[in-house]
Structure formats: C-alpha cells, structure tokens
C-alpha cells in the first residue's frame, strides 16, 4: 500500500476537486476528501475529518492537507481523539498551497515511499515561495520560468532530437556537471504524467538538476513551464549523478515519454 491523503476544505467541491486532480497523477493512492459541514454547507466537519482519517489510513500513514483557518483546528481536534499508535502515523502540513501540495504529495505517495518522504513531497510544493510566505504569498510564487529563448521557438523538425553537450567536469576533483538539450516530441508535451515521472525518478538521484531553469525534481514547477510539443528542454545538472540525470531526461524526452 501507500500513504493516504486526506484533503480538508471548507468547501466540499474544493476537497473533491483537489482529490480528482491529484488522482490523475496518482491512480493507486487513497485520496479522501473531507469538505464542507455535515449538512452540506460551507465549513469544516469534525465527523467528516474523523471518518476521513479512518478511510485514508492504509496502515502506511496519512498526510492531511488543509485550506483555511478552522480546517487546521478541526483536524488537530480530531487527532487528539486518536489512539497513540494511529496518531503517530498521521501528519499534517498546514502551510503548503493546497492544490500544489496535494499533487506533489500524491505523486510521492504513488511511488510507495514513507510518510516522511510524502510530507517532504508536499513541502516541495513551496519551492520558489518566499521564505516564511503566507498562504496568499505562496499562491503567487512563480517559478523562474526561462524567458523566451529557444524554449519558445518550435525547433526544426529533426530525426535526432537529442543534442547532448557533455560539459567537462570543472577542474580536477571538481563538481560533476552535465547538460543537454532535447526536443519534446510527444504530442502533449511536458504535461502532468511525464512531469511526474521525471520528477519522481530524479528525486532519487544525487544531483541538482534544472529544466529550463526550474528545479526538475518538482512536479509543480515542471508543469508550470507548460512546455509543448516541438519546444526544447534545456537540462542542466550538477552533482555526482549529473550525467545520469541528464541522460535520463533526454532519453525519456527523445522516447516521447513512452507516449508515441
């Protein structure tokens, strides 16, 4: 099994919508919405939260993500009533943007990693947010999208889309670095699934890697690039696994992320 997610919102539609969105990228993860009051109004329901924890608890742990104010307090109250053993496998991450956090956490959970790793996944949704940013600020935190340049120009149709440019490691015993360009050939470009596959695989590698300037280990940031078919990925990495990381991305992209 994998870690389950409980999404608490004041609105039933928001909670359900967030689960729906996350499910697209994490088909096997238990995603439980707890939105609105018992009688279907706007607010939070202690009972929906309590039963939601039960549903989301696969035994591998539950991560709770919340929207505003009382959602956090309702969840904390519900946690007080759990048995210690169960409470120990439930975490709450109140300060991440709900949509981004849920998707990032679900993608992490899909790989079957531990609760701690799923929590880190959720926290990664804040990458690029100003330090100490509030909910409002985090929502407006834009990743540094590489401005114009070749990423926007449709690359010339070419048989071999890969143009690897191995960079020499900087000096003797220096940091390994590598980079490469590759054209996106799959019709839907770098959409949710390939972004998830890429980020997931890279997370396990010991390298800092960017695609068009954004952290390639973050699904959210990759998706916000909105890269389409025909555009070019500039992949750059530093660290022991730099070469492997760049090869993985360029290889996947050249292969159309298995979507051709």
């Amino acid at each position: 099994m994998s870690v389950g997610l409980l999404i608490i919102s004041h609105s039933a539609k928001i909670a359900e919508g967030v689960c729906e969105l996350a499910a697209q990228m994490a088909a096997d993860v238990v995603l439980v919405p707890a939105g609105g009051t018992d009688d279907g109004g706007i607010g939070t329901s202690f009972e929906k939260v309590q039963s939601g924890i039960e549903k989301a608890d696969t035994g591998d742990g539950v991560l709770i993500l919340t929207d505003l104010g009382s959602a956090v307090m309702t969840a904390e109250s519900a946690l007080e009533f759990l048995e210690d053993a169960q409470r120990n496998r439930v975490r709450m991450q109140p300060d991440v943007p709900l949509v981004e956090g849920a998707i990032a956490a679900a993608v992490a959970a899909q790989t079957g990693v531990t609760l701690e790793a799923v929590v880190q996944g959720a926290q990664s949704a804040q990458t690029g947010a100003p330090a100490g940013g509030t909910q409002g600020e985090a929502a407006s935190a834009e990743p540094a999208i590489a401005p114009s340049g070749s990423a926007e120009q449709p690359a010339e149709p070419s048989e071999s889309a890969i143009a690897l440019s191995p960079e020499p490691a900087g000096g003797a015993g220096g940091v390994e670095s590598a980079s490469g360009d590759v054209e996106l050939i799959n019709p839907m470009g770098l959409h949710a699934r390939p972004a998830a596959v890429t980020a997931q695989e890279l997370t396990g590698m010991d390298a800092d890697i960017t695609i068009n300037g954004v952290d390639a280990k973050s699904v959210m940031l990759l998706m916000t690039l909105g890269l389409k078919q025909g555009q070019t990925l500039h992949v750059a990495a530093t660290g022991p696994d730099a070469r492997k990381a760049v090869d993985f991305v360029t290889g996947q992209a050249a292969d159309g992320f298995g979507e051709l």
Binding site: T37, D38, G41, I42, G43, T44, S45, F46, E47, L68, G69, S70, M73, T74, E76, S77
Partner: protein, 225 residues
C-alpha cells in the same frame, strides 16, 4: 450562597448558553459579517441547540460529564473555528474537574483557566490579536483573583462575566491578527470580534446560572430558557 456548584448548575449553564446564543444570533451574525463570513451566530446556534438536544437525551451526572458532552457536540456541530475552539475549551474544563460532583471556587477558577489554555493551544492566539482570547484571559484573571480572595463560586463567575464583557469591548479598536478577520488587516479595526462577544455571552450565562442556583431557585429557575 452555596459554596459549591454541581451538575445542575453545569446543565443550567449550557441551557442558558443555548438561550442567549439564540437570542443574540442575529447580532453575532452581523458582527461576523463585518469582519468575517457572517456565520458565527448560526454556527453557535446550531451547536448549542444540539447540546440542548443531547442534554434532553442523556442525563450527565457530574459537571465534568456536562462539559464533555458540550465539548463533543460543539466540535462536531459548529462547523466553524468556534467549534474546535469552544470544544477544546469545554474538553479541558471537563478534564480539570474530573469526576468531582461539587466545584468550589478554586476548582472553578482552574477549570476556566484550563478552558482558556485549551483555546490558546488550539488557535495560538494571544491577548490583543482580536479573538475570543481577549474576552477569556481577563475573565480567567478576574476569576482567579476572586477565588484567591475567598469569593464564592457565584461571585467568581460574576467577576469573570464582567471582565469578559469588558474584554470583548476592548477588541473594538484592534486589528485582527488571527482567524478570518486577519485577512482584512487594518479594515478589521472598528468592529467587535464576534468570538469575543459570544464568549462574554457564555460567561454571563455561567454567572446567571450560578446566581439562580445560589438563590435557591434550583434547577427550574437556573434553566430559565
């Protein structure tokens, strides 16, 4: 005057609370409309009506049992921030009084302090943040002082109720730093915090129930809904 309060008082307090919340429903809604989402009166009315229904169905035999019944019911029925906040308050008060059947002044003051501490634990607000804590903290201070001075429980609660009302009024000029009203920043000044206003009503209900019990009006008088 009686020097202890019992389950009949606790039940009368909760029933009085339901009555005053129903009576001031619109006022609380209007306060919450100014700096929130206009649901505080509705939330509390729903919660306390459910408490009364639970009291009708069961017969809690100690003050602690009354508080726990209120805690669970408010947590599950209120639906806004006041649910977990007041729910936790009653829960901690219930834990503090334990199985005691009679509450004397010191224990009563301790229970109020525990209730306030529960609200702080849940909502992390401090005095001056323009929340219900601005009513609760002066109330707890006044109750503790009265209990230490040897006042009877009815007087302890009277002191708490007066201080809570003043505390609620003190929120008028404040800028909210917690809860929904904090989104309004400076624009929250010039309005009373709805949770502080309702807290003052609840503590007034506690004092009135104690005064009625002390006057020998008994359960019927104290429950005067």
């Amino acid at each position: 005057m009686a020097d202890t309060l019992n389950a009949a008082w606790a039940e009368a307090w909760l029933r009085n609370s339901a009555a005053v919340v129903a009576e001031h429903r619109k006022e609380l809604i209007d306060l919450d409309r100014a700096i929130g989402d206009a649901d505080h009166g509705e939330n509390l009315d729903r919660g306390f009506s459910a408490v009364v229904q639970k009291l009708d169905e069961s017969n809690p035999e100690t003050p602690g049992a009354c508080f726990k019944l209120a805690a669970m019911t408010l947590m599950s029925k209120v639906g806004g921030a006041a649910g977990p906040l007041f729910g936790t308050a009653y829960l901690r008060a219930g834990t503090t009084v334990g199985e005691s059947t009679e509450l004397d002044s010191p224990l009563l003051a301790q229970a109020l302090a525990a209730a306030r501490d529960g609200i702080v634990a849940r909502g992390k607000a401090e005095v001056g943040d323009k929340t219900m804590i601005d009513a609760w903290t002066p109330a707890v201070d006044a109750a503790t002082e009265a209990a230490e001075a040897g006042a009877g429980p009815a007087d302890v609660l009277e002191a708490a109720a007066v201080a809570a009302q003043q505390g609620a009024e003190s929120t008028d000029p404040l800028v909210a730093r917690k809860g929904r009203a904090s989104y309004l920043a400076e624009r929250s000044a010039g309005h009373r915090d709805p949770g502080a206003a309702s807290s003052a009503l609840l503590l007034r209900a506690a004092a009135d129930a104690a005064a009625a019990a002390g006057n020998g009006a008994g359960e019927a008088g104290a429950s005067g809904a």
